[in-house]
């Protein structure tokens, strides 16, 4: 069966410091991968998605970037964090084709607090 791992679960970082959140998926090949941010009262906002190694689509211009160095690894990064980057970040995966491509499975999330 497929599993998704996301870490760290909680992170407290000073303004201006770098960020790296990692996400890996097991038990499937060539998944679609996603990074969402969940803000209180604002639902989930898609930040990045990837359909393959090195293929990243950005939905919202901001202080963050994403990379996919391996088939089942998705990394969310920032060179210099802003206060507004605080939030709950969710990684998700889906199948790469068919109706399953629209069904997302989410990780446990990473709560980032920027001070």
């Amino acid at each position: 069966s497929q599993t998704i791992h996301q870490w760290p679960a909680t992170l407290v970082q000073p303004v201006g410091s770098p960020l790296s959140l990692e996400c890996t998926v097991e038990g499937t090949s060539n998944p679609n991968l996603y990074w969402y941010r969940q803000a209180a009262g604002r639902g989930l906002q898609l930040l990045f998605y990837s359909v393959g190694i090195g293929q990243i689509s950005s939905e919202v211009p901001q202080n963050l970037s994403a990379s996919r160095p391996q088939d089942r690894q998705f990394i969310l990064s920032s060179k210099k964090l802003l206060l507004s980057d605080s939030g709950f970040y969710l990684c998700a995966w889906s199948l790469d084709r068919g109706s399953g491509a629209n069904v997302l499975t989410f990780g446990a999330g990473s709560r980032l607090t920027v001070l």
Binding site: R42, G43, L46, S57, S94, N102, V103, F106
Partner: protein, 114 residues
């Protein structure tokens, strides 16, 4: 702008009461529709989905949702809620033929009082 609206931000019900959570979207054309649920301390997980066919779809734990295309709605229902249904519920929509962007509503927090 494309959007998904959940008008109920917080719903409080007693056990055995009936539940209906509203969801409206603003896209034209063919869509796939979803309800996700996040129980306290747990992952966001799929509750039910509509792709095509019968507009009344059944999900886990006795939930169902009805797609009404003319109203651009996909309301979630359960005839009798339980304390264990306390959670946050998110409606989501993806427009077919577009980018892989699943748009979520702002969520509805359901509190069931035993």
């Amino acid at each position: 702008a494309q959007s998904v609206s959940q008008h109920n931000h917080h719903v409080i019900l007693s056990e055995a009461a009936s539940l209906e959570l509203g969801c409206n979207y603003s896209y034209g054309g063919t869509v796939n529709l979803f309800w996700y649920v996040q129980y306290p301390g747990q992952h966001l997980q799929l509750l039910l989905k509509y792709f095509s066919g019968d507009p009344l779809v059944k999900g886990i734990k006795g939930f169902e949702a009805e797609f009404i295309k003319s109203k651009f709605s996909f309301n979630l229902r359960k005839p009798s809620v339980q304390w264990s249904d306390t959670a946050e519920y998110f409606c989501a929509v993806i427009k077919m033929g577009g980018a892989n962007n699943l748009f979520f509503g702002t969520g509805t927090r359901l509190t069931v009082i035993p």
